[in-house]
Amino acid sequence: MSGDLAIRLRGVVKRYGAITAVNELDLDVPVGTCVGLLGPNGAGKSTTMRLLTAQSIADEGELEVLGFRLPEESKAARAQCGVVPQLDNLDVTLTVEQNLLVFTHLYRIGRADRRDAIERALKMANLVERRDSRVDKLSGGMRRRLLIARSLVHRPRLVLMDEPTVGLDPQVRQELWALIDALRVEGTTILMSTHYIEEAQRLADTVLIMSHGRAVAAGPPAELVAEHAGREALEVYGPPARLAEVEADAGAAGLRTRRTGTSISILGVDRNGGYSVDGERRPANLEDVFVLLTGEEIA
């Protein structure tokens, strides 16, 4: 394995006809860390995930997963990876336990260890009580937990999660964060794509911000924010005319702004002592970084 990298991508390009979904992407995922791929829909996150399991084949570049070269040695890499897909693909007429049983076979767990593997996964995902429930009787949150449990039956060294909490309500999302955090603490390497800023900020050791198939910035979330967006942003509310006025003034003072629907965010105010306007100060976040770097909104 090169260094201590679980994933190493260099200059990876993937095109679909005229569209370049992934463009000269470099990505390092050090062993034992959680890396977040952050970007809006269509940034190339899911394509990157598919490349890592060789369900997409790159047009250019080098890909290494757990020391195996892709796509040639992908099968050996997949044997040691767990994958949580964005779209639920559980067998809905089977029980929770049967779904796990099928995956102990697909991931080649020996007969002697199968029972233990299933029990461990059930416990981890807090589904012991629901083991005999059919999947179509589970709530959305439970199905997601089962998807994660399913990816863990074979104790993978690397877990790939594609938008693990997409479409779930905030409570359920927090439940899943706790589960992912527990994995992280155990030392499992995780690559997670998300378009939720908070998710990346809470769970990821380092974040790679993607836009139009490219990596536009990479680093620990706090450092990225400090480096690009400063400490604080100012949120100004008011009628549209007022917002337009504030926007123009801030622009004239050399500050970046972004519209957030009902308000306007003025970024990097802590760095520019000369400018002042009435508004709510808030800590700068990754979304500010993203907007600064790409001019786009994430969510």
């Binding site: 060789a54 369900q55 040695e73 080649r108």
Partner: protein
């Protein structure tokens, strides 16, 4: 898991990969075998009742056999077609397009070649078993048991493998569910009718007879009939060879079609 090493590169058509996919099918089957078994039994029974006795009242014997027996042996091939080609077409499409099952399987250490092979093996096995149902039904209506009947599951299995691969191939090339209509109307229905299931091909025009000889369904019909009423030697061996060839060709094309579909 075992530790990684460069030498751990895994090969083609590995048993654990095939087993994994088969286990999934078997476990799933345990949740719907009743309805499948019901339809697989009722359909040939209806055919037998309708054609066997309907025809049988007009025509007492066909090629020296009781009409019911003639049609029962022919219906084995129909049962094989229905329990292999149709589930392969629709099931594969659903698993690929709607349930996204294949995404999950291919993320595991299973390649498309193994996935397709295991799916076809499973459907062939189902066809091998359900293919025998018409004979059992016919025995209830007076068909005499014979030793040759013991090879019918193997004939049905072989034909079933070919039809399963045919169905997977169609699903692999299909852009939408509607595409299946063309295949059913333009391919399966004609093949079904010139297979010698309900009437002997010898009464048909020459071109239809030639068409029959390249129709795998016809070879299956004849093989089963000969197995039950008495083998015809080399001709039957050639027919079996044709079924094997059909299976092998369809198998490779099905893998190719699904690779196009599943890996981009």
């Amino acid at each position: 898991m075992a530790t990684a090493s460069r030498t751990a590169r895994l090969g083609r058509l590995e048993r654990p990969a095939l087993t994994g996919v088969l286990v999934r099918e078997v476990v799933n089957f345990s949740s719907f075998w009743r309805s499948t078994t019901f339809s697989s039994t009722v359909e040939p029974t209806i055919y037998l009742l309708a054609f066997g006795f309907g025809f049988g009242a007009l025509v007492g014997r066909i090629e020296g056999q009781r009409t019911v027996d003639f049609i029962a042996t022919g219906t084995v091939a129909t049962a094989v077609l229905f329990s292999a080609a149709f589930p392969a077409m629709f099931g594969t499409f659903v698993k690929y397009q709607f349930q996204r099952t294949y995404d999950a399987i291919l993320a595991a250490p299973v390649d498309t070649e193994e996935l397709v092979t295991a799916e076809a093996l499973w459907m062939a096995t189902r066809a091998g078993l359900y293919g025998c149902v018409p004979l059992l039904v016919a025995m209830a209506f007076g068909l005499n048991p014979s030793w040759g009947m013991l090879v019918v599951p193997f004939i049905a299995w072989t034909a079933g493998f070919g039809w399963a691969c045919f169905g997977i191939m169609v699903a692999g090339f299909a852009k939408s569910f509607e595409n299946f209509n063309y295949i059913v109307s333009a391919v399966l229905t004609p093949l079904f009718l010139v297979a010698g299931t309900f009437f002997p091909l010898s009464r048909l025009p020459r071109w239809a007879q030639i068409l029959g000889e390249v129709n795998p369904l016809h070879h299956c019909v004849q093989l089963v009939r000969d197995a039950v009423f008495g083998f015809a030697g080399w001709v039957d061996l050639a027919r079996y060879g044709a079924l094997v060839l059909f299976g092998l060709i369809m198998w490779r094309i099905a893998i190719h079609a699904m690779e196009q579909k599943l890996v981009d």
